[in-house]
């Protein structure tokens, strides 16, 4: 009987909790902190923890502290779904930031929609926000923005025949599709279309085939280590064809892996964080990027990554709505949609009812690798 009473109290407390204005605001986080996508999840989780600490040190938002409930999905779709349910039903969070990958996000979307909790995904897949789903937002720019940037640059350089070399995972498949679609529209001719698998350790056959097709440029789409390996293989074969890489390798790690000599001249779209020290003072993001990069480095001793920026923007979107007085999931959702222009890490967001990502071409800068460092292209 006593136990029963105690249970009743707990239940009452749980129900009454959110009603109290002074109680902490619970925000959920689902990141792949371990497993194959850990390179995404780890900086994302670190960034959120850093932000929450910062906000709470300043007294929280509108007098309420923020409480972060963060779970590790391990990059596993099934786990992501279970944990999303747990966040909503047990922890009663007002919004969820994450998951880290497109696959997990697609699996979690139906839950967020059904339970009516805003989900701010940190994955890049275009399917997440297209078509627009009422409760789902995402902070990374769409792949096609990066693809378009590359093609615009190739057009400037008067390159007509292009070769594609893409990785055979979802990132590469999406890039390949976007590139093919847009290349057709912009009058490019695709003379070679090769793929490699994420764990391949020799891409010379593909490159040799590409060499035989005599393209003006190669566009490679993948995440490390594949593209670094390709860059080294290209050097081995003495390929003189200009190479474009995707934003997937826009970190110093790529130059380190591929070697400064082999990667010389490689052109790629980079999130502004990677090149923040090169940006003009007038760039609206310059100050924010510098602050974030410094704070992250100070807290964790490693360089901030673009991926952490996704979580940063996700948190700012939620915080923006909270600052305007939103308290329930529905109010937060409306708040994000009506937030107007917001300067973030991944770009300048203008989220509207019709666009739940809100980033445009300015999210990326085209950079060229010169002597082992980035150089901005005009």
């Amino acid at each position: 009987m006593k136990k029963c009473l105690w249970l009743c109290c707990v239940i009452l407390l749980c129900v009454a909790g959110p009603a109290c204005a002074a109680g902490p605001i619970k925000i959920g986080a689902l990141f792949a902190v371990t497993g194959p996508a850990a390179f995404l999840g780890e900086p994302e989780k670190n960034t959120l923890e850093l932000l929450v600490k910062e906000v709470n040190a300043k007294g929280g938002i509108k007098g309420s502290k923020i409480e972060l409930v963060s779970y590790d999905t391990g990059g596993d779709v099934t786990k992501a779904v279970q944990l999303a349910n747990k966040l909503i039903k047990n922890d009663r969070v007002v919004a969820i930031i994450g998951p880290s990958t497109t696959g997990e996000t697609m699996a979690v979307i139906p839950i967020a929609e059904k339970e009516q909790v805003p989900l701010i995904s940190c994955a890049a897949g275009i399917k997440i926000t297209e078509p627009v789903k009422r409760w789902v937002f995402k902070t990374p720019a769409n792949d096609h923005v990066a693809a378009e940037k590359i093609l615009i640059q190739a057009q400037k350089r008067k390159q007509k025949n292009i070769a594609l070399l893409t990785v055979s995972d979802s990132f590469g498949a999406s890039g390949r599709e976007q590139l093919k679609q847009m290349a057709g529209k912009r009058g490019f001719k695709i003379v070679a279309d090769e793929v490699y698998s994420p764990k391949d350790n020799d891409m010379t056959p593909q490159l040799y085939k590409i060499k035989a097709a005599k393209p003006d440029a190669i566009i490679c789409w993948g995440t490390n280590p594949g593209p670094a390996l390709i860059t080294r293989n290209a050097q081995q074969l003495g390929l003189k064809i200009p190479v474009y890489q995707s934003h997937g390798v826009a970190s110093k790690k790529f130059i380190e892996l591929a070697g400064a000599e082999a990667s010389e001249g490689t052109t790629l779209p980079a999130g502004k964080l990677a090149v923040h020290h090169l940006l003009k003072k007038t760039d609206p993001q310059a100050k924010l990027l510098r602050e974030y990069a410094d704070a992250y480095k100070k807290a964790y001793g490693v360089e901030a990554s673009t991926f952490g920026g996704y979580a940063y923007d996700g948190f700012q979107l939620v915080a923006g709505a909270l600052k305007k007085g939103a308290t329930t999931p529905a109010q937060i959702r409306d708040g994000i949609e009506k937030n107007g222009k917001m300067v973030g890490i991944s770009g300048v967001f203008t989220i509207t009812q019709a666009d739940h990502n809100g980033l445009d071409l300015s999210a990326f800068e085209m950079v060229r690798i010169q002597k082992g460092d980035w150089a901005l292209l005009p």
């Binding site: 090769e194 020799d202 040799y208 050097q235 790690k253």
Partner: protein, 294 residues
């Protein structure tokens, strides 16, 4: 660019990967022959070789040769510990449960390496420069020559060891008939331990020489291990020339398939070959069928 040049290039890059598969295949076969189990942690030994060399080079600041030796010794120590702690205590376990133990060990080793050295891909500088060499219209790196050289050396050495030394002959005796070997005074336990030592040393050596070409990370062992396993199957799990040829055929076909047919099917080609061989010649490509006498 004529087709012949293209094919030379594919064959050369295929031979290099094939040589690595052959080394890994050999290390599979050595353990199989002395214990009757397939050690699925073999790929992890390969990974350890590369990762430990980088660690010794960058953190301990050893010169390259010392780093390689340290990595091979380190991996051998892991192999030794693995046999002592996980295989030997289970005296009467069935091969199946031992195989499952090796899978567990592979997950454990991968996890520990991930925690110790991080998840990032790391790069090992090439042993002698990065200037491509041109041979018969194809280009290769000095590192390829290292791979060929080391592989040939290892094959010759293992041949000599297994056919001309007492320990080697004793190990072969164990693989033919453990009971009989025991009866003539060969310590089977010691031979099993020795097989783990040799096999982990071989695996790590393969990992070291390929790391400058392909880079390395905590999880590269999985795929390399599987391909090496294919090579061993093609060679009928013998520790001789069959496995070496198996590895080289596999590497070359993969590279030719990727170059001439479609790069998307590269791994599929490897596993298709494995399936075909398992269906048509389960005893291996170069072995005569064995009849079991009851």
């Amino acid at each position: 660019m004529d087709l012949l040049n293209q094919i030379t290039q594919f064959v050369i890059s295929g031979l290099a990967t094939g040589a690595i598969y052959a080394l890994i295949g050999l290390s599979f076969a050595i353990i199989f022959n002395s214990t009757g189990i397939i050690n699925f942690a073999q790929g992890e030994f390969v990974m350890l070789g590369g990762v430990m060399t980088i660690f010794a080079l960058n953190v301990l600041k050893l010169p390259l040769l010392a780093a390689v030796v340290a990595a091979v010794l380190g991996t051998t120590a892991v192999g030794l510990a693995f046999e002592r702690l996980a295989i030997r205590p289970l005296k009467n376990a069935t091969p199946l449960s031992l195989i499952i133990i090796t899978i567990g060990a592979s997950i454990l080793i991968r996890g520990v390496v991930m925690l110790l050295w991080g998840k990032d891909t790391q790069v090992l500088p090439p042993f002698s420069g990065n200037t491509p060499l041109e041979i018969a219209g194809a280009t290769l790196l000095p590192q390829h020559l290292w791979i060929f050289g080391v592989t040939i050396l290892v094959i010759v050495a293992s041949r000599l060891f297994f056919h001309h030394t007492i320990s080697g002959k004793a190990m072969r005796a164990c693989s033919f008939n453990r009971k009989a070997a025991n009866l003539v005074g060969i310590s089977v336990g010691r031979m099993v331990l020795l097989s783990f030592v040799i096999s982990s040393a071989l695996g790590s050596l393969a990992g070291v020489i390929i790391a400058p070409l392909t880079m390395t990370a905590y999880d590269v062992g999985v795929m390399l291990g599987l391909k090496g396993f294919c090579a061993a199957i093609m060679g009928g799990m013998g520790s001789g020339l069959g496995t070496v040829l198996g590895g080289i055929i596999l590497g070359t076909l993969e590279s030719l398939g990727a170059g001439l047919i479609s790069s998307g099917y590269k791994d599929a080609i490897a596993f298709l070959i494995l399936l075909l061989i398992l269906f048509l010649r389960p005893q291996g490509l170069f072995k005569k069928g064995e009849t079991e006498r009851v």
